[in-house]
């Protein structure tokens, strides 16, 4: 009897929490279809804000910046992080405390400290040498810095999960060092590489604070553009572009569910 009451209470609480979690997103999507320029009342369905998006060059260039930043930084982080992940695995019996601290540093450092450190540093280097002009380049550097640890840890944990004699079996079966990388290591960690790439990509797209402080005047990404628009005063176009980004996340969520189901089957 008591248990049933508890269970009903929990079920109610669960649905309430779901409402709490999705209400803000739902409101954004709802008002993106609002015919009126208001965020307080809904005045009928319209696609005008989406049409306005296509004509807004700032938004289109911000989208392009976001994509270039995410793809380029993820690729660089994948290569560097993969190497470091393998190094951590191969030399895991050594005392590598300094390396672990180094790798966790970007993860534990508060975003804001991360962002302003790099900004202050880049500004000084730029003044001294003319290099590292704030822009996409500095943003890519900053993003790679916080992506490396995630790639390294994913690759490392994949290697740790492998039977260590597999490495010996590859040697034993006539694979040269180069062929071991090509025919054994890379194919074996392929799932880890794919998920590390997608995690890096998502982290990059999601980041606002670090991008904000390392960006230059020409390199605004979508979140930076949205931030600026909010600061200037909310425009319903923001609802539309935000809805598209929410839609992309929902699609990604459904895909990830689908793939994890299929892998288990």
């Amino acid at each position: 009897m008591n248990k049933r009451v508890l269970r009903r209470g929990l079920t109610g609480f669960w649905w309430l929490t779901l409402v709490f979690l999705y209400l803000p997103l739902a409101v954004v999507v709802l008002f993106s279809f609002n015919a009126a320029n208001s965020s307080a009342s809904f005045a009928g369905f319209s696609l005008r804000w989406y049409q306005r998006l296509l004509g807004n060059e700032q938004i289109l260039s911000a989208f392009a910046n976001s994509m270039v930043l995410a793809i380029v930084s993820s690729v660089i982080a994948l290569v560097i992080g993969c190497l470091i992940g393998y190094g951590m695995y191969r030399h895991r019996h050594r005392k590598l405390g300094w390396l672990i601290v180094l790798i966790y540093l970007p993860i534990v450092l508060p975003d804001i400290v991360f962002g302003i450190s790099e900004m202050a540093f880049f500004v000084q280097i730029h003044e001294a040498t003319g290099l590292l002009k704030p822009g996409l380049g500095t943003m890519i550097i900053a993003h790679v810095t916080f992506q490396i640890p995630f790639v390294a840890l994913i690759v490392y944990s994949r290697f740790v999960g492998l039977d260590p004699t597999l490495f010996e079996a590859a040697k034993d079966l006539y694979a040269t060092p180069f062929k071991r990388v090509l025919h054994f290591m890379l194919p074996t960690i392929k799932p880890a590489l794919i998920s590390a790439f997608f995690l890096s990509f998502t982290l990059s797209i999601d980041d606002f604070v670090i991008s904000f402080f390392t960006a230059g005047p020409e390199s605004a990404t979508l979140p930076i553009y949205i931030w600026g628009a909010i600061k200037k005063g909310v425009s319903p176009e923001i609802n539309a572009i935000a809805s598209l980004m929410i839609g992309a996340v929902v699609v990604a969520a459904i895909l990830s569910l689908f793939f994890s189901r299929r892998r288990r089957a």
């Binding site: 004699t165 079996a169 040697k171 034993d172 079966l173 006539y174 074996t188």
Partner: protein
């Protein structure tokens, strides 16, 4: 699983034509002898894995490295495979010096204890891996894989995924993956230890037959002396990084070189020799006569009395040693009966075949007789 194995074992006369042709090809393979000279290997500062090992393994021999964990047998195997470099010493296989040749350039393959099948590859690709790494074109690889699959009777296993295989199936694939490369020497690192007892016994027989059919040099590592005796042409017993004895299974079992080998081969009846004089020795269990060949003047050492050589009963045949003991414990094992006898305050094990002889009871006093030929002196 077990069906395919027993089918393979039953196939002595070569019923399947495919198997016949492969057997012919298999027997033309050249086997290689192995020469190990003065091998030393140390891990860290204090752990001595090999302490000067000299060993010759004949071409086409089923050779077993036997010993407790930490005795150096696995290190020795890994040096043969090239996965470990010796600190000192040389390794020659088939007349070629291999000491510093990396593993991928050695015509030596290993069946690993954990099987080490590549999880990202199908069974077929696992089998073809070594051939592919050696640069064999795809059609030839396929032909060789099919050949070995028929030879080991893998049947439809070839088309499965690695994670769909049972332990015994994985073992067979690992074996096939190594054999398909036609190495000069095949190394087997406790390949049966992960299997249950019944399957292990079957595979012991199967492996031994396979080796005879191929005529390939097999170097097998195990800590199980029964397994070593069933399968091997010769056994090397290792302890503390040193070879204690090398010999045929019956040599090692019946004439152990020292007390360690005797104990490791499962002998419990070892008695300290206090004093020896001519053919006679004074031991913990009394004064006994040995064969003239066994006589040595030094007193230290042990006398090995194998339990199955003791006869219990009132009659003592001519020339036999005679002792008296009291039955302290009796274990009924069906085909045989084990006794623990107290002789001179020492415990002596005896095993009698259950032939309907008189069964002795706990507390009975019995006469024990043993032929001098069956008594073996063992160095300390």
């Amino acid at each position: 699983m077990s069906d395919t194995i027993s089918a393979d074992i039953a196939d002595k006369t070569g019923v399947a034509p495919a198997a016949k042709t492969t057997r012919h090809q298999a027997s033309t393979r050249k086997a290689s002898a192995i020469e190990l000279r003065g091998l030393h290997k140390r891990f860290g500062r204090d752990t001595v894995a090999l302490d000067g090992v000299d060993l010759t393994i004949q071409a086409g021999e089923f050779f077993t490295l036997l010993g407790p964990s930490g005795c150096g047998k696995t290190t020795l195997l890994r040096i043969l495979a090239g996965l470990e470099e010796p600190d000192q010493g040389t390794l020659v296989v088939g007349g070629k010096e291999l000491t510093e040749v990396p593993p991928h350039q050695r015509s030596v393959n290993t069946v690993f204890q954990s099987y080490a099948l590549f999880p990202h590859l199908s069974v077929r690709d696992n089998l073809a891996f070594g051939l592919k790494m050696r640069g064999l074109p795809a059609e030839k690889r396929d032909a060789k894989v099919d050949e070995i699959a028929a030879f080991i009777k893998l049947g439809d296993l070839v088309d499965r995924r690695v994670d769909q295989l049972s332990g015994g199936q994985r073992q067979r694939i690992a074996l096939a993956r190594a054999l398909v490369c036609e190495p000069d020497v095949l190394l087997l690192d406790e390949p049966l230890s992960a299997l249950d007892a019944g399957l292990r016994a079957q595979l012991q027989v199967e492996l031994q037959r396979l080796q005879k059919r191929l005529g390939m040099t097999f170097v097998f590592v195990t800590h199980d002396q029964d397994e070593a005796m069933v399968m091997s042409d010769r056994i090397a017993v290792l302890d503390g990084g040193n070879i204690q004895q090398v010999g045929a299974p019956n040599d090692v079992y019946e004439r152990p070189a020292n007390a360690f080998v005797a104990r490791f081969m499962g002998h419990d009846n070892l008695f300290a020799i206090h004093h020896s004089e001519g053919d006679w020795v004074e031991t913990e269990i009394g004064r006994l006569r040995l064969m003239p060949g066994e006589q040595r003047d030094d007193a230290d050492g042990w006398l090995l009395v194998r339990p199955e050589t003791l006869e219990l009963g009132p009659e003592v045949p001519e020339g036999y040693n005679r002792m008296t003991g009291i039955v302290r414990e009796r274990l009924y094992r069906g085909s045989r009966i084990e006794y623990r006898l107290e002789v001179n305050e020492c415990m002596v094990m005896a095993v009698a075949s259950n032939l309907g002889q008189r069964i002795h009871h706990e507390g009975d006093e019995v006469t024990i007789s043993v032929c001098p030929e069956d008594l073996v002196r063992v160095a300390a």
